[in-house]
Amino acid sequence: MAIHRGRGFASINYPIGMNLGGDPSQALVHSNPGGKFMVALSSIDLGQGMKSVTRQIAAETLGVPVEDVYVDTADSDTGPHCMGSFASRGTHRVGNAVIQAAQEARSVMLEAAAEELEVDPADLVTDGKGNIHVKGAPSKSITTAEACGAAQFKQGRTVSGRGIFLIPLSEVDADTGEMTPVSCFAHAALIVDVDVDDETGEIDVIQMNSAYELGRALNPRLVEQQLVGGAWMGMSHAAWETTEPYYPERSHGPLDFNTYLMPGPGDIAPHNIAILERPAPDGPFGGKGPGEMCANPVLPAMVNAVFNAVGVRIDELPITPEKVLRGIRANGGAQPQGRRG
């Protein structure tokens, strides 16, 4: 028996959003008289953090503390239209719609504050802590709560805003495939180390090192959640999962989590992640969307690592012990390709 260590590499980019139908999303923002803001969406939070990232985007744009913002989603009676949470569109599309809505609401809030302070709204800034003051004169100030209260009770203004993000329709050319696929791209490169048992074909993932470029990290902890969980799913796709283990033969499909294989908590390996942030020109504060792309480089990196370890090319996923073992047999034994790094 021998265990062979192998190292594989892959790099990818990932299109943010969909390129069908203009990919619209809308947002509505309004404040109550106490200066607390509600963001109304029909977008979905399926764990990726939609409610949280749009809340931060709204707070930043409004210039108020994040505690003063709450995101309500998703109710079709109150939340304006959104295509949905898929295609890595949430942060980018909905984030942009929230910015537009929050900007409009902010401008009303500043107009209200200006009227109270008897200054030009253009001279006003927010401190992000709940105050609005004249640029360069922090003492000439009013709280956001006072401004919003005055707007509603004294001035008859609605501190509210509407936002939409829409990409102009783009034809896909039938003959050449010319199109405007999406608006921006995230990037990743990943190196995975695996051990391959040349008698059983079993693989252990030993370590991952990666670099992800995903525009501005709008919330580093949410980014971390996506990347750590996404790499696990990438591992899982590479070497565990399928609903049809003998595809295209349609038999022995798993019916439960015992036979639908996924790595358990004892299969995970250390993962060292570096994050690069090249802001997307059209992204909300330069953000892109890390949610989907983070799994992608792991699949090819794993098959490349298996090749490096034992000289077997696995061209059909998932990499089962059986496929590895058949490959080793076909080659007349393991053929380690030499260490990298």
Binding site: T176, A189, A211, N219, T242, T243, H271, P300, R340
Partner: protein
């Protein structure tokens, strides 16, 4: 596990001095999650709730001769049995809401089934157990039909017809072709010029999204003749509009509530549960729940479809890739769902993050007798990225180059022309390669270490090919398409030139749009005219390609 933010990269393109954005603020939903109070769709209790379970096909492909529900109707606890004739508009395709593709899938089939597990009737009963017991008593007289499971078998002449709407078992693109084309330069000329040709075949198997919460919805009568629906959907209005269409019910009679979902990963877009739950409520006047059990989620719920890719590269001895050809097959299963669009997205992604002067792709959306495929994390991209990057490793091995160096050598850079004929911008592949290598202590040559996405792109690399070889292979007849995009008033791109790189932002970036079609320096052939800013057209959604069967 470690995570580091390499702020030194692209630092001059960012203003990191923001109040809230960039901060590790706690999730808005964290407290709800750890106290178990986050309200998922099934956490809404209704008195008198009824349960829906479906009668499903045991066959991969069969005609329905007769459905006998009489014994099931007499079972205790059974309130109603629903079949296809009860569905007001029993044919749909999900992307019809974007006017993309033809209606090809019934909510409850009453003529034939095209995959194992396809629903043909639904039992509405007082308890889940009663519904299951009654399902077992529904008798269906089946006439089994030959089935086809392999994508390349399915497109051969004489293969069983899976989906009568597309009799060649192929989705039709733009009313013209049985596949989506990508043609950029002349790939055959590129192969002749190359020092070597490297080929590969890559296969992804179907993958289940497997969220811990299965798909489902609860519908209930709301006041004033409306229906409230609690749903696990990933796309509230997709589900609402699909329900509105299938049930011929105005959308303002539907009140959909969701947004707190126990994982989706793409598996909760298909909008199968909402219409069924609302239909149950319409027919019984009582709250109805329709939810997949785990077995259904695993085998009946749509997976990420399988993909098969053939890649052929023309490579110079120094590692430059001069031509790349793809032939891809997406296994859509029995119906279209979203596979047709996955291919559009995938083709827009080719040839991966590399600048290659000659690129060709033919990608087919194929119908087979298996569970329809749908979206999943990395939709349209994960499979082809696996193929591309496994292939890059093969190329590196064959030309004797370090795999990372090969990527950096071929990487796209700012200003390069991409195969879909848009200029690359905001690229960062090279830097990712460099940083990953550094972290893994994988040594790179000086040239590779010093390369940059910001340099050496554009110029010659930014030009469209002098000649692009096109063809009419796979032309279909009997379909027409309108191009809404060209006719549409749409939302016109702003008259101002596209914004430059956002440097030193001090204010939030407002939504902006990419200016399509950068003008090539030397257009090799006349590009299609730019979108005209005339004619208005009123569609609820805008669309890129309407399709009609003649």
């Amino acid at each position: 596990m470690s995570i580091e933010f390499r702020k030194e990269y692209f630092a001059d393109e960012r203003d990191d001095n923001l109040n809230e954005v960039g901060k590790p603020t706690q999730r808005q939903d964290a407290l709800g999650h750890v106290t178990g109070r986050s309200p998922y769709f099934d956490d809404h209790l209704f008195d008198g709730l009824l349960h829906i379970r479906c009668v499903r096909s045991p066959h991969h492909h069969a005609r329905i001769r007769r459905i006998d529900t009489s014994e099931a109707e007499r079972m205790p606890g059974v309130v109603r049995i629903i079949t296809g004739k009860d569905v007001p508009h029993n044919l749909n395709t999900l992307l019809s809401l974007l006017d993309f593709g033809l209606d090809d899938e019934p909510l409850l089939s009453d003529k034939k089934v095209a995959y194992k597990g396809e629903p043909v009737a639904a039992v509405v009963a007082e308890t889940e157990r009663a519904a299951r017991d009654a399902v077992a008593k529904v008798r269906v007289d089946w006439e089994e039909l030959p089935a086809v499971f392999d994508v390349e078998d399915a497109v051969k002449p004489g293969a069983p017809v899976v989906n009568e709407v597309y009799p060649k078992n192929l989705f039709v693109y733009h009313g013209r072709y049985d596949h989506q084309k990508l043609r950029y330069g002349d790939v055959e000329a590129g192969f002749r010029q190359a020092d070597r040709i490297i080929e590969g075949r890559y296969q992804m198997s179907p993958i289940e999204q497997a969220p811990t919460e299965t798909c489902g919805a609860i519908a209930a009568p709301e006041t004033n003749d409306r229906y409230v629906v609690y749903t696990s959907t990933q796309a509230l209005f997709f589900s609402l509009d699909t329900t509105s269409k299938l049930l011929k019910t105005p959308s303002n009679r539907l009140h959909f509530i969701g947004g707190t979902v126990g994982g989706g990963f793409g598996g909760k877009v298909d909008s199968l549960h909402e219409p069924m739950a609302v239909l149950g409520t319409m027919l019984t006047g009582r709250p109805c729940k329709y939810i997949f059990d785990r077995e259904e989620e695993m085998q009946v719920g749509a997976p990420r479809g399988a993909e098969r890719w053939y890649l052929k590269d023309g490579v110079m001895n120094d590692g430059r890739i001069v031509a790349r050809k793809f032939v891809g097959y997406f296994d859509s299963g029995a119906y279209t769902r979203l596979s047709s669009y996955a291919i559009i997205k995938g083709v827009g992604h080719l040839p991966g993050p590399y600048t290659i002067p000659n690129v060709y792709a033919d990608v087919y959306c194929v119908f087979t007798n298996r569970t329809p495929a749908t979206a999943m994390r990395g939709f349209g991209i994960t499979g082809v990225d696996f193929a591309i990057e496994a292939h890059m490793d093969k190329v590196a091995h064959e030309v004797g180059l370090d795999p990372i160096e090969l990527r950096i050598l071929n990487a796209y850079r700012d200003g390069d022309m991409k195969a879909h004929r848009r200029l690359a911008k905001n690229t960062a592949l090279i830097e990712c390669c460099q940083v990953a290598a550094e972290k893994a202590k994988w040594p790179l040559s000086q040239a590779a270490s010093q390369a940059s996405s910001l340099r050496d792109g554009g110029g010659e690399r930014g030009r469209l090919p002098a000649h692009t070889a096109t063809d009419q292979n796979g032309l279909v007849s009997g379909f027409t398409a309108q191009s809404y995009a060209k006719k549409s008033r749409a939302t016109q791109p702003s008259a101002t030139p596209p914004p430059q790189m956002a440097r030193h932002e001090s204010a939030p970036v407002t939504p902006r749009v990419e200016q399509p079609r950068p003008q090539p320096v030397q257009p090799a052939s006349a590009p299609p005219p730019p979108p005209a800013a005339t004619e208005q057209r009123h569609t609820r959604f805008s669309s890129i390609s309407g399709l009609r069967r003649r």
